[in-house]
C-alpha cells in the first residue's frame, strides 16, 4: 500500500510542481510578478524493524523569490526617476516658450529699443514716433503672450499634481484593502504569494507618484510612510493626501496629509521622489523663477524707459509721461501703483494679519535686481529679516529711518523697502515684485506727439568759445534739484574744468569748485544732467546747461538718444538691457540641462535596480523549460513506479487467483 501511496503522491506532487512552473510561465510578462518555487520535502520515514523506510514526497509549500533589499532599491530609484522625468518633461515644455533665433523675445526687445534710433535721427518724423509705439506694443503683447503660455503651463501642471494626488490616494486605498486580505489570510499559516506580489506592485506604483518607506507589521500588514514620517497607510487605515493653494501666494501649492481629518503640511523637500515631487518642484520653484525672470526683464526695461522718458519733452514741449504702465496699477486689486514722480511702487502682501503699517518697495538699483520673491519679517527694534525665496537665503538687515518721512527703510537686491512708520514686531510680508509685470504691461502712450524725444536740458555755448571742443552728448539723467536754473562747465588754461552753479538758490557745486582734469568722452554729471564733450579744450571755454524750453523741443532728439543709450546700460547683474533676454533663457536652459542629466542618471539607476530585482525574482523561460522537463521526467518516472507497484500487486493477486 505504501508503494502505491508513494507513487500517487509523487504523481500529484510532480503535477503540482508543473502547475507552479506553468503559473510562472503564464506570468512571465506580468508586472511585479515574483517567480514561485515549489518546496518539496520527504514525507518522513517509517521504522519497520529493519530500518526506516521513506514514505515518499510531499509538498511543503510554495515560496516566491523575494529580496526585500532589491525590491526597496528598485522602488526608490524608480520613484526618484519618475520625479526627475516628470519635471524634465515639464521643463522641456517650458523651454519651448522661450525660443531662440528670429522668433525670440530678444529680437522683439531689440526691435523696440532700436526703434528709438529712427526718432533720434528724425524727431519731427511722425512715422518714426509711431514705429516706436508700435514696436513697443509688439514687445508688451509678446510679454503678455509668453505669460499667458506660462499660465497655461501652470494650470496644466497644477491639474497634473491633483491627478497625482488622486492616484496616490486611490493606490493607498488599494494597499489598505490588500493589507486587510493579507491579515485575514494569515490564519492559514501559508504565505499568500500573489497577494504579496500584488501589494508590492501597488507600493511600486505608489512610488512612481511619491516616494514611500514601508515597515511590515507582525500581522502581515504593511505600513506606508510618505514625506519622511507621515503614515499614508497604517494597517487598513488611509490618511489621504491633498494639494492645496497656498493662502498667501495662490500660485504655489502646499502638500498636505489629512490624519483623522486634521491637515498636516508636508514640506515638499521631504517628498524624496515621485512624480508629485517633480511636479510640485516645477510648480513651486521652476515656474515662479521663469515668471520672475520674465517679470524682471519687463520691469527693468519698462521702468528704465519710463524714467528716461519722463525726463524728456514731447513734441509739444510738455514734460514726458510714463511710456509703459502696468495695467490696473493703482487699483485696490493690484500690488502695483505709481508714485507722484511716476516711478513704480510695489506693495507687499501681509502673511496672516499684520498689526503694523504696510510695506512698499521701490527700485533703487536696476543692475542689482534678483529674480526672486521676498519674505520680510519685522523683528524687534530696527531688526528686519528678509528671506530671498529663490535661494532660500535669510538676510539680517537693520532698518534706517528715511530722512524725510522718517519711515523705516531696508534695502536688498536693488529694492528699497519702506516698512512704514510703525513696523510691528512679528509682522510678516510677502513681496513679489516681478510676478505680475509681464502679464499686465502695456504701452500707455497713444499719440506719436506724446513721445518725449527732446531733451529737457539744453547747452548754450557763448560765442567766445574757441570751438574745438564739441558736444558729443547731453542728456538728462535724473530729476534736477528744485529751483535749478543753470549750471556752467568752465575750462581753464591747463585744460581742466570745473562745474559751477549760481549761488541762489544754493545748489551744488558752487564756486569755488575744484578744477578737475578733463578727459574727452568722459561724462560730466551734475544737477541731473550728463554732458559728454569731445575735442581740445581752450582756456575760457564755457558750456552753460539750463532747462530746455518748449520751443527747443521740435529740433531736439537728446532724450531719444538717451533712451537708445539704455541698450548699453548694465541692468541684469552686468548684462546690458539690450541683451536682457539672455538671462531669461540661459537660466532656464541650465535648469533643463541639469534636469536632463538628473533624469538620465536616475533613469539609468532605476533601470539597473529593476534589472537586478528582475534577475533575482523574474521568470526565465529557459529555466522554466528545463524545470518543466525535470518535473515531467519525474512525473513519468512516478507513473512508471505506480505501474510497477500496480504490477507487483497484480502479480500477487494473480498468484492467489
Amino acid at each position: 500500500m505504501s508503494s502505491l501511496n508513494i507513487a500517487s503522491r509523487a504523481l500529484t506532487t510532480n503535477l503540482a510542481a508543473m502547475q507552479v512552473i506553468g503559473h510562472n510561465i503564464a506570468n512571465v510578462n506580468t508586472d511585479g510578478y515574483s517567480r514561485q518555487n515549489i518546496l518539496l520535502g520527504t514525507s518522513g520515514g517509517q521504522f519497520l524493524g529493519n530500518g526506516y523506510f521513506g514514505k515518499g514526497v510531499e509538498i511543503e509549500g510554495v515560496s516566491r523569490a523575494y529580496d526585500s533589499y532589491l525590491t526597496r532599491e528598485a522602488q526608490l530609484t524608480r520613484s526618484v526617476s519618475a520625479g526627475d522625468e516628470a519635471r524634465y518633461a515639464r521643463l522641456q515644455q517650458l523651454e519651448s516658450l522661450f525660443p531662440l533665433g528670429d522668433q525670440s523675445l530678444g529680437v522683439t526687445l531689440n526691435n523696440a529699443l532700436n526703434a528709438w534710433s529712427a526718432v533720434a535721427t528724425s524727431p519731427l518724423d511722425t512715422t518714426a514716433r509711431t514705429v516706436v509705439i508700435a514696436r513697443s506694443e509688439e514687445l508688451t503683447a509678446r510679454l503678455r503672450d509668453v505669460t499667458a503660455s506660462l499660465d497655461e503651463t501652470r494650470l496644466s501642471s497644477t491639474l497634473q499634481v491633483q491627478e497625482a494626488v488622486k492616484s496616490i490616494n486611490s493606490l493607498a486605498e488599494q494597499i489598505a484593502q490588500v493589507n486587510q486580505t493579507i491579515v485575514q489570510s494569515q490564519g492559514t499559516g501559508r504565505s499568500p504569494n500573489d497577494l504579496l506580489d500584488q501589494r508590492d506592485q501597488l507600493v511600486s506604483q505608489l512610488n512612481q507618484y511619491v516616494q514611500t518607506s514601508t515597515v511590515p507589521a507582525a500581522d502581515g500588514s504593511l505600513t506606508v510612510f510618505v514625506g519622511g514620517s507621515q503614515p499614508l497607510v497604517l494597517g487598513t487605515r488611509v490618511s489621504p493626501m491633498a494639494a492645496e493653494r497656498n493662502p498667501v501666494d495662490g500660485d504655489k501649492l502646499d502638500i498636505k496629509i489629512y490624519q483623522a481629518g486634521q491637515p498636516a503640511e508636508i514640506n515638499a523637500d521631504f517628498l524624496g521622489g515621485g512624480a508629485l515631487k517633480g511636479l510640485v518642484r516645477f510648480v513651486n520653484e521652476d515656474l515662479p523663477e521663469s515668471y520672475n525672470m520674465l517679470g524682471r526683464l519687463a520691469l527693468s526695461m519698462s521702468e528704465q524707459v519710463n524714467a528716461q522718458h519722463r525726463l524728456g519733452l514731447d513734441a509739444n514741449g510738455d514734460p514726458g509721461e510714463n511710456f509703459y504702465q502696468i495695467r490696473g496699477a493703482g487699483t485696490p486689486d493690484s500690488i502695483y501703483s505709481y508714485g507722484a514722480d511716476g516711478s513704480l511702487q510695489i506693495a507687499a502682501k501681509p502673511i496672516g494679519t499684520a498689526s503694523g503699517s504696510g510695506v512698499v518697495a521701490t527700485v533703487s538699483d536696476f543692475n542689482a535686481l534678483q529674480a526672486s520673491d521676498y519674505e520680510i519679517r519685522v523683528g524687534t527694534g530696527t531688526d528686519v529679516t528678509v528671506i530671498r525665496k529663490s535661494t532660500n537665503e535669510s538676510v539680517q538687515l537693520t532698518s534706517v529711518p528715511d530722512p524725510i518721512s522718517g519711515n523705516s527703510i531696508v534695502s536688498i537686491d536693488g529694492l528699497r523697502i519702506d516698512l512704514g512708520a510703525s513696523p510691528a514686531n512679528g509682522d510678516r510680508f510677502l513681496l513679489q515684485p516681478y510676478a505680475g509685470v509681464a502679464r499686465n504691461l502695456e504701452v500707455v502712450l497713444s499719440s506719436p506727439q506724446d513721445v518725449a524725444a527732446a531733451s529737457s536740458v539744453r547747452v548754450d555755448l557763448p560765442a567766445t568759445n574757441a570751438g574745438s571742443l564739441l558736444v558729443e552728448n547731453l542728456r538728462a539723467v535724473s530729476t534736477p534739484p528744485a529751483g535749478w536754473s543753470s549750471t556752467a562747465v568752465e575750462f581753464n588754461s591747463l585744460g581742466q574744468y570745473r562745474v559751477v552753479s549760481p549761488s541762489t538758490p544754493p545748489l551744488p557745486p558752487a564756486v569755488p569748485a575744484d578744477w578737475v582734469n578733463f578727459q574727452p568722452g568722459q561724462p560730466i554729471v551734475a544737477n541731473g544732467f550728463e554732458l559728454v564733450l569731445r575735442g581740445v579744450p581752450t582756456d575760457g571755454d564755457t558750456f552753460n546747461i539750463s532747462p530746455a524750453t518748449a520751443a527747443d523741443a521740435a529740433q531736439n532728439f537728446g532724450n531719444a538718444k538717451a533712451i537708445l543709450g539704455l541698450r548699453d546700460k548694465a541692468s541684469f547683474g552686468g548684462v546690458n538691457l539690450g541683451d536682457g533676454y539672455i538671462p531669461v533663457f540661459s537660466a532656464l536652459a541650465n535648469k533643463v540641462q541639469a534636469g536632463r542629466v538628473a533624469a538620465e542618471f536616475s533613469t539609468t539607476a532605476a533601470t539597473n535596480a529593476a534589472t537586478a530585482l528582475a534577475n533575482r525574482t523574474g521568470v526565465n523561460l529557459d529555466e522554466e523549460a528545463a524545470r518543466l522537463l525535470q518535473f515531467q521526467q519525474a512525473y513519468q518516472a512516478s507513473a512508471k513506479f505506480l505501474q510497477v507497484a500496480q504490477g507487483t500487486f497484480d502479480t500477487l493477486i494473480q498468484s492467489f487467483g
Binding site: N111, A118, R458, L533, N590, T611, R616, D622, A626, L629
Partner: protein
C-alpha cells in the same frame, strides 16, 4: 539563483528601451540636419545660445546704426551742398562790393548794386535756414528753433541766431546731422579783429584809414574795454598848408579822453604814411579838405575840417548778414564825405567777407571729412554685420560633415541593435523541446 540568471521579460524590456533610446538620438540628429542648426533649444548648448543671441542683438544694432548713418549722410550731403552754395553767393557778393568801390559809379548804379546785394543776403538767409527732408534744420547746431536764423526788424535789428550754439561731435558709430550755423555765419571777425575803423558821418574831408593792425597788443591800452577805455579818436586839424591829426584814448565812464603818450598832441599829417602809436599801426590817407562850398577854392591858411576817425575795440564777432547790410548801407550812403565813407566801409566789408568765406570753407571742409568718414563707417558696419553673422553661425549652426557622419554612425548602431535583438530572441529552449 546565480549571478548569471536573467529574467526573460526584463531582457525584452531593456532591449526595447535601448532601441528607443537609439531611435530618439537618431531623431535628434535628424532634426539638427534638417534645420541646419546644432542649437535648436537653449538647453542644447546654453553657452552657444547665449553667444548667438548676443551676436544677433549686435547685428540688429549694426543695422539700426546703418540706417541712422544713412540719414546722417544724406543730411550732411545737403549741408555740404548748402555750404557750396553759400560760397558761390560770397563770390558774387564780393564782385558786387568790389564793383561798388569804383568811384565813377553814379548813385543810381550803386543803388542797383545795393539791391543785388539785398537779394544775395536773402538767398544766403534761405540757405542758412534750409532743412532736411524730415524738417530738421541743417544749421541749427545743437537744436533750438525750427528756423535758426531770424531776420529781425526793430530792436535789435539784424539776424538773430535762434538755433543752439554748439556742434555735436562725430563718434565711432554716428555722425552729426546738423552743423553749427552760428560758427558759419555769426562768428565773423569785425575789422582786423582788434578794432574797427570808422568815419563820423559829420566828416567833411576825405581823410580815411586802412583797417590798421595791432603789432603789440600789450601797449594798446586804449582797446582795453575792461579798464574803462573805449578806443581811440583821431581828430584832424591845422591848416590846409599844414594839416595835423591828434590821437586820444577815449574813456567810457565818465566820458573823457586822455592823450596817447607816444604821440602826444597834434602831429603833422602826411597822407599815406603809416603812423604807429600804442602798438597800433594805421595808415591815414586822403585829402583832409572837403569838396563842397565854401571850402573850395581855399587858401593855404584855411583851417582843415575837424574830421574824426574812430578806432572802436572789438569785443564780439559780427555776422555775415550784418556785413552784407553794412555794404548795402554804405552803397546807399549819401553824406558829405560820401567818397571817403564808401571806400572806408567797403574796405572793411571786403575784409569781413573774406573772413566769412574762410569760415564757410572751414565748415565745408569739416563736413567733407565727415562724409568721407561716413563712407568708411559704412564699410565698417558692413564688416561688423558680417562678423556678427559669422559669429552667430559659428555658435549655432551644424557642421554638416560632422552631422552626416554622426547620423550614419547612429544609423549603423540602430541597425545592429535591431538585428542582434532579432537573433538573440530566437534562441529559446522551448524550440528544442517540441
Amino acid at each position: 539563483m546565480s549571478i548569471y540568471r536573467v529574467a526573460t521579460a526584463n531582457t525584452f524590456d531593456r532591449t526595447i528601451q535601448n532601441i528607443n533610446r537609439r531611435q530618439s538620438e537618431l531623431g535628434q540628429i535628424q532634426e539638427q540636419l534638417s534645420s541646419g542648426k546644432r542649437v535648436n533649444r537653449a538647453s542644447d548648448d546654453a553657452v552657444a545660445a547665449t553667444l548667438a543671441e548676443r551676436a544677433q542683438n549686435r547685428l540688429a544694432r549694426v543695422q539700426a546704426d546703418q540706417t541712422a548713418l544713412e540719414a546722417s549722410k544724406s543730411s550732411l550731403t545737403l549741408v555740404e551742398a548748402g555750404l557750396g552754395e553759400a560760397n558761390d553767393l560770397m563770390v558774387r557778393a564780393r564782385e558786387l562790393v568790389v564793383q561798388g568801390g569804383n568811384p565813377v559809379l553814379t548813385q543810381s548804379s550803386r543803388e542797383d548794386l545795393a539791391r543785388q546785394l539785398e537779394g544775395l543776403r536773402e538767398q544766403m538767409l534761405a540757405v542758412a535756414n534750409r532743412t532736411d527732408t524730415a524738417g530738421m534744420t541743417l544749421f541749427g547746431g545743437l537744436g533750438g528753433a525750427a528756423k535758426p536764423f531770424l531776420d529781425m526788424y526793430g530792436v535789435p535789428t539784424g539776424v538773430q541766431y535762434e538755433g543752439q550754439i554748439g556742434q555735436y561731435a562725430a563718434t565711432e558709430n554716428s555722425l552729426p546731422q546738423a552743423v553749427d550755423g552760428n560758427a558759419v555765419w555769426m562768428r565773423v571777425v569785425p575789422g582786423n579783429g582788434n578794432f574797427t575803423v570808422s568815419l563820423d558821418n559829420s566828416n567833411q574831408g576825405f581823410v580815411r584809414a586802412d583797417q590798421g593792425v595791432v603789432v603789440n597788443a600789450g601797449l594798446a591800452v586804449g582797446l582795453d574795454t575792461s579798464a574803462g577805455y573805449g578806443g581811440y579818436r583821431i581828430t584832424m586839424g591845422g591848416t590846409r598848408a599844414a594839416p595835423t591829426f591828434e590821437i586820444v584814448r577815449e574813456i567810457t565812464a565818465p566820458p573823457s579822453t586822455e592823450p596817447v603818450t607816444s604821440l602826444p598832441g597834434p602831429q603833422l599829417y602826411q597822407p599815406g604814411t603809416t603812423i604807429e602809436f600804442d602798438g597800433i599801426q594805421l595808415t591815414l590817407s586822403g585829402d583832409p579838405m572837403g569838396v563842397g562850398d565854401p571850402l573850395q577854392p581855399s587858401s593855404p591858411s584855411d583851417p582843415v575840417p575837424t574830421d574824426v576817425v574812430r578806432l572802436t575795440p572789438v569785443n564780439q564777432p559780427t555776422d555775415l548778414f550784418a556785413t552784407f547790410q553794412r555794404a548795402i548801407d554804405a552803397l546807399r550812403y549819401n553824406g558829405t564825405n560820401q567818397k571817403a565813407n564808401i571806400t572806408q566801409e567797403l574796405d572793411r566789408v571786403l575784409v569781413e567777407m573774406d573772413n566769412g568765406t574762410d569760415r564757410i570753407l572751414d565748415t565745408r571742409g569739416r563736413v567733407g571729412e565727415w562724409l568721407n568718414r561716413a563712407d568708411s563707417m559704412g564699410e565698417m558696419f558692413a564688416d561688423k554685420a558680417l562678423f556678427h553673422q559669422k559669429e552667430k553661425s559659428d555658435q549655432e549652426d551644424l557642421d554638416m560633415v560632422k552631422g552626416i557622419s554622426d547620423f550614419q554612425n547612429m544609423q549603423v548602431g540602430l541597425q545592429a541593435a535591431l538585428q542582434s535583438y532579432g537573433q538573440v530572441q530566437k534562441l529559446s529552449l522551448f524550440q528544442y523541446i517540441a
